[in-house]
Amino acid sequence: MRMRTPPLVALGVVATLVLAACGSSDDGGGSGGTGSKPVKVTFIQGVAGDPFYETMACGARAAAAKDGVQLTVQGAKDWDASLQIPLLNSVIATKPDALFIAPNDAQALVQPLKQATSAGIKVILVDTTIADTSFVSSAIASDNLKGGEAAADALAKLIGEKGPVLLVGGQPGVSTAEARQKGFEDGLKKYPGITYLGNVFTGDGVAKISQLVSSQLAAHPDLAGIFALSTDQSEGANNAVKAAGKAGQVKVVGFDAGPTQVEQLKTGIVQALIAQQPAQIGADGVDQAVAAVRGQTVQKTIGTDSATITADNVAQPDVAKFLYTTTCG
C-alpha cells in the first residue's frame, strides 16, 4: 500500500512550498534605489491595447531609456477595478521602487494602492485619479475640464452655434470623463442657441456604441452635433453617423487622436479632435517616479495641455506631436 497516492505526495510538496514561502516572507520594504542600482518602475495602464495608453507607454519607455530606469508596462484587458486590482497586487509582489497607474475606479483602488505605499512603493497617478490622494507622490493628468470646454467651442463653431447636441460618454465613475463632461456642459452655456440633449452612456465596444448612437440619430433627426468622449466612443459615433447617411450633416467632435480618429478626420467623418498628450504624461510619470524614489522634489499635480486638431492643421509639425500611436516610434 505504499506510494498509492501521488496526489497526496504532491499536495505535501505544495504545502511545504507554501509554508516555506510564508516562513521566509519578507517585510516588503522598498530598497530606495540609491546609488548605482537602476530604479525599477512599473506602469499599469488603464486598459491594455488602447492607443491612448500605448502612446503613454511609448512616452514612458522613451523617458525610461533616457534616465536609465528599468520600466515594466502592464494592463488589464478590460476597464474594470475587479480586473485591475489583482494585476496591481501581482505588481506589488514584484516590489518595484515606484509604480504609476491609471486607476480604473476612484474608490475601489484607494485601499490596494495604500497597500502598495505601505510596501514601500512610491505611487503616482496618471490620467485618472482616486478619491484619496493624500498618500500618492504625484498625480499627472490632462486638464480634462479645459479639454471639455475646448470641445464645446470646437463643436459650437462647426454647427454655427445652434441646434441640438449630444454627448456620447463611456461609463460613469471615470474621473477624467466626468471632468470632460463638466467642461463641455459649462462650455455650452456660452451658446444659447444650442440645446444639450444630455449624455448617452455606452460602455465600451465600438459595435455597441455605434448601435446606441444610431438609435439617438433616429430619435433626434435634427441632431446637429456629437461630442464623443473617448477613443471607442468617437469610433462608434462615426460609424453610426456614416451608416445613417449623415456624414458631414451631423458634426462630430472626438476626444483623443488615435490613428483611426486621425484617419477619420482626414476623410471628413470627424470634423475636429481634442487631443491630449499621453506621451508627455507617460514621460512625466517616469520622471516623477524617479524623483520620488530618489527623494527629490516631486510635483504633487501636473496638468498637461490639450489641442484642437482639425483637417486644416493636422499636417502641421507642432500639432503632429499630439497624435497617438500604437507602435513606439
Partner: protein
C-alpha cells in the same frame, strides 16, 4: 456507474483492476508505473505544481511571498464560488453562461437594498447577503424553468439570462458603477481575514468543501451525475429529472449571487464591466479540473485546482513582466492542452 478520473472521493485510491492481479515481477517498476498512471490522472494538479515551481524558481523573492500567495488565493476565490456551481451544472450535462451577469446583477440589487436600509451594521450586511443570494437563486430558477418547461438548450436559456441580467443590472444601476458599500462589509469581509487567510478565500473554500461533500456523498450529487451520464436512465430510475435540473441551476445562480456579494465587499463597487468573461473562466476551471463537459463525471476538488491555474498564470506572468495579452494566450492554450491530455487519458482508461 464508475467515474474514471474522479478526484473528490476519499476512496479514489482504490486499487486499479490491473493492480489487483498477480504480484508484480518487479515492485520498483510497478511502483513507477503506478506513480506515472496516478500523475496522468491528476494532470491538472501536476500542471499547477509545475507552474508554481517555475515561477517560484524564476522569481522566488516576488512569487513565493505571503502577500502574493494571498493575492492569488483571493483572486482565485472569486472564481471558485461560481465554479463550484458550474461543476454541478456541467456534471448534469448542462451549462450556465449567465454566471457573470447574475453576479453583477446580485451585487447591484444587494447594494441597493443596503442603501435603502441606510444603515451600516452587521444586520444591514446580512440583509444584503440575503438579497444577493435570493436574487441569484431567482435567476437560477428562471434558467431552470426555461430549460425544462421551455424545452430549450441551456446554452440558449442561460445566454438569454446572461444578456438580460447584464442589461437589468445596468438599468438598475443607472448605467454606472455604484459605490458606498457599507464599511462594515468592506472592512469586515472585503479586507478582513481569519488567521491570516482573507475572508473571501475562507468563504470560497467553505463553499467548495460543502460542494465537494454534496457531490460525492449525498443523493443530490448522485442524482446530478446520474442525470448527466444518462438522463433517460435516471428518469426511469424514478428520479424527478426536471425538478433536479431546476435545483442545480438555482444552486449555480445562488452561488453567483454569493460571489457578487463577495465582489462588493472586495471592491466596494459594483464592477459592472469586469465579469463578462467569468463564465468562460468558470467553465475553464471546471474542465481543467477534470469534470467532463459531456456530463456524468464531476469533481469539486478538481475545480479548486482548475480555478487556481489561471490565477497563478496571470500573477506569474505579471511578475515576470510579460505583456498582458500573453496571459490570455497562455490560459487559452493551457485549457486546450489540459483537455486534450485529459480526454486521451480517459479513452485509455476506458480501454483498460
Amino acid at each position: 456507474m464508475t467515474s474514471p478520473g474522479r478526484l473528490d472521493t476519499a476512496t479514489t485510491a482504490a486499487p486499479d483492476p490491473v493492480d489487483g492481479g498477480a504480484p508484480p515481477p518487479d515492485p520498483a517498476a510497478e511502483r513507477r508505473a503506478r506513480l506515472l498512471r496516478g500523475l496522468r490522472k491528476r494532470w491538472s494538479f501536476v500542471v499547477l505544481l509545475v507552474l508554481v515551481a517555475v515561477f517560484g524558481t524564476l522569481r522566488p523573492d516576488a512569487f513565493l511571498t505571503t502577500f502574493n500567495m494571498r493575492s492569488i488565493a483571493t483572486d482565485a476565490s472569486s472564481y471558485l464560488v461560481i465554479a463550484v456551481g458550474m461543476t454541478f451544472v456541467i456534471t448534469l450535462g448542462g451549462i450556465d453562461l449567465s454566471v457573470g451577469s447574475v453576479l453583477v446583477f446580485s451585487g447591484v440589487v444587494s447594494l441597493q437594498a443596503m442603501h435603502w436600509l441606510g444603515t451600516d451594521t452587521w444586520t444591514t450586511c446580512l440583509a444584503g447577503l440575503a438579497v444577493a443570494v435570493l436574487s441569484g437563486a431567482a435567476w437560477g430558477l428562471v434558467n431552470g424553468l426555461v430549460t425544462t418547461r421551455g424545452e430549450i438548450s441551456p446554452l440558449i436559456a442561460t445566454l438569454g439570462a446572461f444578456a438580460a441580467a447584464q442589461g437589468l443590472a445596468f438599468v438598475l444601476a443607472g448605467g454606472q458603477d455604484m459605490h458606498d458599500v457599507p464599511l462594515t462589509l468592506a472592512n469586515g469581509i472585503g479586507y478582513g481575514s481569519v488567521l491570516g487567510i482573507p475572508w473571501p478565500v475562507v468563504i470560497a473554500l467553505g463553499v467548495a468543501a460543502i460542494g465537494g461533500f454534496a457531490m460525492s456523498q449525498t443523493r443530490f450529487g448522485r442524482y446530478t451525475s446520474a442525470i448527466g451520464s444518462n438522463e433517460e436512465a435516471a428518469r426511469r430510475a424514478a428520479i424527478n429529472v426536471d425538478r433536479h435540473l431546476v435545483k442545480v441551476y438555482m444552486l449555480s445562480g445562488l452561488l453567483s449571487g454569493l460571489a457578487g456579494y463577495i465582489s462588493l465587499a472586495r471592491f466596494q463597487t459594483t464592477t459592472l464591466n469586469g465579469h463578462s468573461t467569468d463564465m468562460l473562466l468558470a467553465i475553464l476551471a471546471v474542465v481543467i479540473g477534470g469534470t467532463s463537459l459531456l456530463g456524468g463525471v464531476g469533481t469539486v476538488l478538481g475545480t479548486v485546482i482548475g480555478v487556481t491555474i489561471p490565477s497563478v498564470l496571470s500573477s506569474g506572468f505579471v511578475i515576470l513582466g510579460f505583456e498582458a495579452f500573453w496571459q490570455q494566450v497562455a490560459i487559452g492554450v493551457a485549457l486546450v492542452i489540459v483537455v486534450i491530455v485529459d480526454q486521451r487519458n480517459r479513452r485509455r482508461a476506458a480501454l483498460r
